[in-house]
Symmetry: C2
Subunit: 134 residues, 2 copies
């Protein structure tokens, strides 16, 4: 079912400092920050040859990553995103196995303009998993 690893998302307490680390220290290709008000985050995409890293920083007062940063003030890996061909088929297969889909279970439009769903970390070894239809 799952295809490519689309990205690894890292929540960071200082977006400019984190972007500079990847650009200047690790020598990666770092894009400018972009606000995603619908998702409550500002995102910096880092392009690697085979996948992306997404730096996430809270935007607005009810950012979904604020709680994570409160618990992990230095930042940390927030989620992994796997690509799927058909997100509704993937959801139904997962639910049939007992895996919990977060929220209403209806896909939302993600940061790349494509339908996404999140799976409960307790069902996947403590890892928050995003599925993105590509």
């Amino acid at each position: 079912m799952i295809g490519r690893l689309n990205h690894v998302a890292i929540a960071v307490p200082d977006l400019e400092a984190a972007a500079a680390k990847y650009r200047d220290t690790l020598g990666a290709k770092v894009n400018p920050p972009q606000d995603e008000p619908d998702h409550g985050v500002t995102v910096v995409f880092i392009e690697l040859p085979n996948t992306k890293i997404e730096l996430l920083y809270p935007l607005g007062e009810n950012s979904p990553i604020q709680g994570f940063l409160d618990k992990n003030p230095s930042g940390g890996i927030h989620h992994m995103c796997f690509e799927v061909e058909d997100i509704l088929a993937a959801r139904d297969t997962l639910k049939a196995t007992g895996a919990r889909v977060l929220g209403t279970g209806e896909p939302k439009i993600g940061a790349h303009g494509k339908p996404v769903l999140f799976l409960h970390p307790k069902d996947f070894n403590g890892c928050l998993i995003e599925l993105e239809q590509v």
Copy 2:
């Protein structure tokens, strides 16, 4: 400097259950477990089209991931591994910027038989980063 994301490593409290989740629930290609006594882990490699997931389970009494699992009993993402062309050049560049290399600073031979180094999570937004020379 950094190239491909070689793998994302996930520490898990039950290797067979975690492998089954990726194989049966997420439909990924999951390889048989292999013991890495030099690294104190048993590893299951999951092959995605563009990168790998490595499930890590403690092996022996002084496994380097036991402490992580004690703090995260459900498991969690333990580290990310980026490929570099020249690990000594990468190390020296990183040290010159003040980034801390774990251990002696001399590369060890990693799970793939290639030289690896780990960077201090506090220098990289709470993320443990492995560099692997390819």
